[in-house]
Amino acid sequence: MHCKEVMQRINDSVAPDGEMLKHIKTCPDCARAFKAASILTGALKGEKENNIKTTPISEFRNRITERMKEKNKESIMSIMKNRINQRSGLVTGLSLAAIVFLFIVLVPFSYTTTVGYELQYTGLNNVDITQAQITQALTTFGYENVDVQLAGGNCLISGLPNKQDAIEMAIAFKALTGSMVEPEIKPILANISGSLYAQVKDRIKIDVETEDKTDEEIADEITTKLKKIYTNPVVVVTTIDEGRKIVIKTNESDSEITEAEIIELLLDSDGDISFETPAKAARLGLDIDTEGKTADEIKAEIEAKLAEQGEDGATVDVMTDPDGKHEIRIKLEKEKTVEE
């Protein structure tokens, strides 16, 4: 008898005869297979003969009832835990979301933002006033945290929180000193370390619908909205092959425009516009030459310029005292008094 035949018999569970046993005694491979088959048969038989005592059905029913009650009492956390265990993809998704959230909120990045403005005067040779007097006068006007440095015909006024305050300060300075020197208004930029969330929070959102509108209409709408934030924004909308290109210069008259104040957008043809822009910008700027003008003329000019900047509801009062000095009161959303 050959090995192949013996193995076939072992696999077919055929009882061995004398010839097969004779071969097994002389062939180690067949002997090993035969022995393993015997062990397996014995193990299966032993397990079959092992009569396990089973649980009475009444007792088992009670167990199931209790288990079902417990299952109904499962907390939300355990349900979530089970769901998460069943769906490995959900675990990955939640973990990724948590990592992204923490990244956005906690990981700091450095970015540049405008933290204030300063006025710089040069050539104030004819001004007959001291630094202390300017500081005292500005404090009287309500500018308490302003720092004034006057030396050698140059004056630097810093500590102005926004551009509107800087412009108002320039008018107040002009009235106080009688100088006709125009100041240079400089934004104070600071490199800030903050999370992405902090950067987004530091910007404001502009939404514009573009459906059935021409480039000019879109530009007008964006300009009107930007005027509530910037002094003289310039918006150019052009239709290109891919859609529309929008270039926004947040302040035409500002000579110190930073890169952050020029926004370029490329949009699909029918997509509504939604973009964000730095929130720390001057809300209002007025540049009025009062020389040789009457109170009514000054008032008319201020009202016209305010209207240009989208401030239609402003109340302007201009009064002239016997010395020829003008007192200008502009009432906007928040009341500010400017004297000249």
Partner: protein, 191 residues
């Protein structure tokens, strides 16, 4: 759900279903846990069973599916403290029973879940193949072939182990395991 009907149908097959689960997992605690989980599953799905006469194969299908799902769980959720003693048969030599189970566990480990269920039902629980057809939804010939392959696989697995619990009696393997040499199941009438 008709709760009373469910329990009435379960009552006659409860002992073999419980025993099947314990033998499938090789220990009482895991087996009982599997059985309870499967019964709760079956209760929640009982309304979907149209033919109540097919309760037994339907329940065993659920048991086997629960067993498969259990094996798919991560290994660390499957660790339990086993109590083997409670399953022991007092009429059998404990040492011999331990060796026998050790070999069987090793051999069964080589099989996929469904083949393991087939071996337990046929070789240990002694079910006729004709009844297994309705559980596995396969023809008799397929089940027989799978049982043959499963058994060969188990035997080959045992061949790969160098140590042998019965090494002190190598020449008498034909009498030590199961008395007389018998590769065939004693009541394998439909084989």
């Amino acid at each position: 759900m008709d709760n009373e009907l469910f329990w009435k149908l379960l009552e006659p097959i409860h002992p073999k279903a419980e025993r099947f689960c314990r033998k499938l997992l090789g220990n009482r605690d895991d087996g009982d846990d599997l059985y309870q989980e499967a019964i709760i599953n079956a209760m929640t799905r009982f309304d979907t069973l149209k033919d109540k006469n097919a309760f037994q194969p339907w329940l065993f299908r659920i048991l086997i599916n629960n067993f498969k799902n259990r094996l798919r769980k991560p290994w660390w959720t499957r660790i339990t403290f086993r109590s083997r003693i409670s399953d022991s048969n007092i009429n059998v030599d404990p040492r011999q029973q331990y060796d026998s189970r050790r070999w069987l566990e090793r051999a069964m480990f080589a099989l996929p879940p469904e083949d393991r269920a087939m071996i337990v039902l046929y070789e240990i629980e002694g079910w006729p193949i004709s009844e297994m057809v309705s559980i596995f939804g396969k023809p008799e010939g397929t089940i027989k072939a799978r049982l043959w392959r499963a058994r060969r696989k188990m035997r080959q697995k045992l061949e790969s182990y160098p140590e042998n619990p019965s090494s002190e009696n190598d020449d008498n393997t034909d009498t030590k395991f199961g008395g007389n040499y018998a590769l065939q199941r004693s009541d394998a009438t439909d084989k």
